[in-house]
């Protein structure tokens, strides 16, 4: 099975992430969408690491490990902001937030 099947799946996953960011109103669900997009990119790296038959390039795997760490940092900051927003407005709905700010 060539990498093109994996790449089709990667782009589908990326589109799911974008759809999630565009349509969801809950702030936590938007963070999930962001994570799905990052995972699509990670999967793309892993599937492209086997360019030469019988050999797996460690560069791609090290990038994915670092990228998982970085996405953990982004999620931590995002969840902190969600906690602050909830304390301030008492809701997680992104559209309510705009209305409350007025």
């Amino acid at each position: 099975m060539g990498p093109s099947y994996y790449l089709a799946f990667v782009f589908a996953l990326w589109a799911v992430g974008i759809y999630c960011l565009a349509t969801k109103r809950n702030m936590l669900r938007m963070i999930f969408g962001l994570e799905i997009m990052i995972n699509a990119a990670n999967l793309s790296f892993i599937s492209l690491a086997t360019g030469v038959p019988g050999f797996v390039d460690p560069l791609a795997h090290s990038i994915v490990i670092v990228s998982i760490g970085l996405s953990g940092g982004v999620s931590a900051v995002a969840i902190t902001l969600v906690v602050y927003a909830y304390r301030q407005y008492g809701t997680l709905d992104i559209r309510e937030l705009k209305r409350l700010r007025g």
Partner: protein, 490 residues
């Protein structure tokens, strides 16, 4: 470990909590402010030996520390960009000493400020896309927190969340683009990419990778359909952070696009650059029409940053050496002009406590130095002849005419004429003879705020009258960028 200025910055960032503890013990927040300003100044001075190395032609270094291998590539462009970042960083740090003095958690603020600037310097010094991505995320994560830092809460949390979601989606898209380039070439270093793609025929996947990367870096560079986070984030942040975000952080996106355009995207350049050209015209029109509708002075300046990103993208899309010189010169000049403008506006907001332009009437009589500096930086943003904004816009327009893209040059000229209308409105309100209620009884900004403002405005005037040294530096940067492929193949 890496290049000298980056090592110093990372070391000082790691040690900044110690200064924070000391500041908390002695109950003097100024200690961590002075520490971060001194750290940035030390890093700025240490650029000089790196500059000498880059002039002599030493560009690459492969650093191997145990299991960790990183690849730095410090050429003239990297030196010039890092000098711009550190210059504005020092100004913002000195300004923050007085601006953030009432903030209880300001030691945290200075740690984040240092790590954001280290991330930016790391991005321009990195020699492969992996290192670039790691420093890119370092810059992004610190800037998300800094946007949410402003006092009084309010809309800053919402603006920071919007910024995080859009910029995070951009980073994920960048990573996807990098993975496609990796899958095609098996390498991520810029030289390797130039070798792998430089003289090859374009394939379907390189088109996909170039579009995906344009979307990803375009979010950070505020290319127009992807710009919606910028006015919110830049107006909600504390003023020194707004100056840094508008002055240098968004330019890092342009830097990355320039770098990729002349390495990996060489085969698709004839198709890719016209797309960028159309986007640049849309960007500058939107960035110059939207400020006309704004009553909030920080939102006005944030939208005008989008307009200036349009000029820089126009320079990139022409793609000749003269045009890239104009782009890099405009990055330098925009950092000075927009940095000074945001710092002046911050000083006025600090005194009168309002961001509405209407509340600033008559401020010129109460805060003469700040108002004069703001007027000079706004005239430079319009592109008035003796000031530095004129030089770089003229360079971009000249390059457009030389490449037979007359309509693009005319678009840039018309846009800078259009931009005069809203900048002059701010100056007219400041000069009104009747003072508004908020302005009554205010005095000029504290001297620690005036010091970086006057330094930046002084540089605006000096580099407007005598642009030769910077012009020469940017010309060599552009030449180094364009000839990267021929340097590698020899």
């Amino acid at each position: 470990m890496f290049a000298l200025p980056l090592d110093l910055l990372l070391l000082f960032t790691a040690l900044s909590p110690l200064a924070g503890i000391l500041a908390a013990r002695m109950r003097r927040n100024a200690i961590s402010g002075v520490y971060s300003a001194a750290a940035l100044a030390a890093a700025a001075v240490s650029i000089y030996p790196v500059y000498q190395g880059a002039s002599a032609g030493a560009v690459s270094s492969i650093v191997n520390v145990g299991a960790f291998t990183s690849y730095m590539r410090v050429d003239m462009l990297a030196v010039a960009m890092s000098a711009v970042f550190l210059m504005l960083g020092v100004a913002a740090a000195v300004y923050s000493i007085s601006y953030m003095s009432k903030e209880r958690s300001s030691p945290l603020y200075y740690s984040l400020l240092l790590s954001m600037i280290s991330g930016m310097v790391g991005v321009v010094y990195s020699g492969d896309l992996f290192t670039l991505f790691v420093f890119w995320e370092m810059m992004c994560i610190s800037s998300y927190v800094l946007v949410a830092f402003s006092r009084g809460g309010g809309d800053s949390v919402e603006a920071a969340f919007k910024y995080l979601v859009m910029s995070g989606a951009g980073s994920a898209t960048i990573l996807l683009g990098i993975s496609l380039l990796y899958g095609m070439s098996g390498t991520l270093s810029f030289e390797g990419l130039a070798l792998a793609f430089g003289r090859s025929e374009p394939s379907l996947w390189i088109y996909v990778a170039s579009i995906v990367s344009l979307i990803g870096f375009g979010v950070k560079a505020a290319v127009v359909p992807l710009h919606t986070w910028l006015p919110d984030a830049h107006s909600a942040a504390p003023s020194p952070i707004s100056a840094l975000l508008s002055g240098v952080v968004i330019e890092v996106g342009i830097y990355a696009l320039c770098r990729l355009c002349f390495t990996a995207f060489l085969p698709v350049q004839p198709q890719w650059l016209p797309i960028v050209m159309v986007l640049s015209v849309v960007t500058m029109v939107v960035g110059n029409v939207m400020p006309l509708l704004q009553g909030d002075v920080k939102r006005l300046l944030a939208y005008s940053s989008i307009g200036h990103m349009g000029y820089m993208l126009a320079g990139l899309s022409i793609g000749t050496q003269l045009a890239l010189t104009g782009t890099f010169l405009h990055i330098f000049n925009h950092a000075l002009m927009k940095g000074a403008a945001f710092l002046c506006v911050g000083a006025i907001i600090y005194r009168i406590g309002s961001r509405q332009i209407g509340d600033m009437s008559g401020i010129a009589r109460r805060m003469p130095i700040t108002a004069t500096a703001l007027a000079i930086s706004l005239f430079a943003l319009i592109g008035m002849p003796p000031l530095n904004g004129f030089i770089s816009e003229l360079t971009i327009v000249t390059a457009a005419f030389q490449s037979d893209l007359v309509w693009l040059g005319i678009a840039v000229i018309l846009n800078s004429v259009l931009s005069a209308s809203y900048y002059l409105r701010v100056i007219r309100v400041m000069l009104q003879p009747t003072a508004s209620e908020a302005v009554q009884g205010t005095k000029d900004a504290p001297w620690l705020m005036l010091l970086p403002i006057c330094a930046l405005v002084g540089m605006i005037v000096i580099f407007g009258l005598w642009p030769d040294p910077v012009m020469d530096l940017m010309q060599r940067s552009a030449a180094g960028l364009i000839t990267l492929l021929s340097q590698v193949t020899g």
